[in-house]
Structure formats: structure tokens, C-alpha cells
Symmetry: C2
Subunit: 188 residues, 2 copies
Amino acid sequence: MRTAEVLLERRSLAEISVDDLAQGAGLSRSAFYFYFPSKAAVVLTLVDRMVEQASGARDTALQQLDSDPAAACRGGIESFYATFGAHRPVVRAVSELSATNDEARALWSQVMQGWVEQVTELIEAERARGTAPSALAASDLATALVQLNERVLQAIFVDESPAVSESAAIDTLTHVWVNAIYGAPVEG
Amino acid sequence: MRTAEVLLERRSLAEISVDDLAQGAGLSRSAFYFYFPSKAAVVLTLVDRMVEQASGARDTALQQLDSDPAAACRGGIESFYATFGAHRPVVRAVSELSATNDEARALWSQVMQGWVEQVTELIEAERARGTAPSALAASDLATALVQLNERVLQAIFVDESPAVSESAAIDTLTHVWVNAIYGAPVEG
DNA sequence: ACACCCTATCAACACGGTGTCGAGAATGTT
DNA sequence: AACATTCTCGACACCGTGTTGATAGGGTGT
């Protein structure tokens, strides 16, 4: 698995064969299959690890919004950024794998679902306090905002173009979040 | 190519072999290679077609913002939705292909770049008119908003979960756009 | 010291998909 | 009729995956 992470820094998942993985770990290709059923399983394990290690950070980051809501949003976004930024190769791999692998898709959507639920709660709490207007379904708005983060950061992490400049990313996302949550409804 | 579009309605690109494509068109596999250098080329051609057919719609949709800016945003979003919604299998295929194919990635990012430029102009025009505050770089904001659309609609088109409900998508996106563009800067 | 099992490793194989080649039909041109 | 162009095919080489059956080593109990 260390080998997998190292190789993923340089090449995409598709460019890495089971042979590469095995050789990197000093094994024959078939010995690899003793430890993992497939290349995909390695990535899934890597993702599992990352998720476990990071799911705590999310909950704490978003919960302390009593004081300053804008700061809480920023905290959540920073936590999102930190979590996935620290494991860029893994994020890249899982997004690549999701194109062809149901399990990867399911795992990733579970991760995103966690974020969406957390953010939905945040929005509903603010609406209950009367600080945020109720216009759209909170879950729809939360989904959109989480997906915004996902896509914007993804683009940055894999050096796509166009992409938001990395230094402005947090500010840009926070701006969009805060205005989307607290801004006035747009007449349909 | 018609065959490709039909097959892509049912299965993902990875599940379609050159053989399937050829047979669907009543050809042998090697005859296929007379017409296209690879499976990827078929998808690229499909995308080219879609882009060409749709790039006009975008420009006109966003340009008429003199009257009602919110309506112009909505128009742009609707045009985005219509363009890609009408060719879901192709969108799905190109996103899948982009995971492994440089040319597909380049083509897609060119398409997105077109949108970003258009939206950047819109934002800058509004700021020049004094109706929108200048906080973030217009191009960063535009990039984020275009990627928001991309990701939210993608999730809807491929039936991901979580996803914004399709009926609320346009409203949700419009809300985020308008508030992000016209909303007050968030103190960093 | 022996038998035993469990862990670990490997070479060899079968399979499926890709892309190439050269040989030839089919069709049109002079 | 000779020729060229367009198109089609079967056969091949290649690569990556995943499986299998044979085998080596290192504990453990007797």
C-alpha cells in the first residue's frame, strides 16, 4: 500500500499495473493476489484509511458555529481542503476508479453523503435561529455546496485548467457558501 | 457513431468493447479500425459534435443580461442544463474517458474554459456597472460557479447520490450564482 | 526427530481486449 | 480488360488480469 501511494504520486491509476505494484513491494505479481483481490481493492483500502482518519475532523469543524457562522463555514471548507489535500493521489485514484468501479462509487458517495448531512444540519440550524432565510430545500443547497467544494478542489489537486487559483480557493469557496446560505432568496 | 450513442445509453464506456461497436454497426472489429483509430476517437467525435452544436447557445444565453441580470444567470444555467442534458450519454462517456485520456481531458477543459470566459465577462460587466461588489477575482468566481454547474448536473445526469433533485436544480444553481455574484464580500 | 498445518511464494496458464497486417472482395475508372 | 480505390476480413502479436496447482518455510505438538 505504501508502494501504491508512491506510484500514484507519479502516474494515474490506469498507468499502474498489478505488476508495478507487486514489483514495487518486492513481490511477484501472483503473490500480490495473495494480499489483495485486485488493484481496485488497494485503492479502496487506501480510501478507507483516509476517510476514517478524517471523518472526525469534519464533524468538529462544522459543529462550532454558535459563535461565528461565517467562521464555521470557513472551518468546514478548510477541513475539507485539508482532508483531501493531504491525500491528493488517493483522491485522484478514487475519482478515476469511480468511473468503472461500483464499489468505489458507493464508497465515495458515502463520504460525500456524510458532508451533505452535516451541512444540511448547519443550514437548518441557522434557519431555525432566524439568521438564514428559508428558500430552497436545505439538503439541495447543502448538496450543491458540497459538490462545489468537491469539484473546485479536485480541479486544483489534479492541475486541471480552468481551476481556481489555489491561494484564493478557500476565500472563493467561503464567499460562495456564506452568500448562498445567508443571501436573500432569488425570485423564481 | 449512432451505435455508440445507443450503446452508451445502457452501459458505461468501459463496458463497451470495440467489438460491440463494430457489431452494432454491422462491421467486423477490424473494419472498425478503418474508420476510427480507437474507441476513444468515437467519443471525441461525439463530443466535438455536441460542442459545436451547443457553443452558440451559450454565447447568446449569457449576453442579454442588460435587462435582468438574475434572468441572464438563469438563462445561462438553463442553457448549460439543456446543452448537456440533451446528450447525457456523451457527457458520461467523456467524463469517464477523461480519467485515462489526455485528449479527452483537453477537449473538455476547453469547453469549460469557454464557459468560464463568458461568465467572467458577465461578472466584470456587472461590477463595472456598479451593481456587483468587487471582492474576489472575477475569473476565480466564474470558475467556481461553472464547476458548480458541472458537478451538480453531472451528479443528476448519472443518478449519483447525493444529488440535487432534478426539479430543483435550476433554482438551486441560480440562487447560488446570483448570491455569489451580487452578495456582499465576506470578511476574510 | 517427525508429522503436520498454515502462511507465503511462484511459474504457468487461460482469458479477454486492443491494435496491426497482409490478403483479398467489391466497386468504380480509363 | 486492366487498374486503382475503397472497404472487409481472418489471423496474429501484445498486454494486463485473475486463477491454479505445486512447493517452500516456519511454527507447533508429540
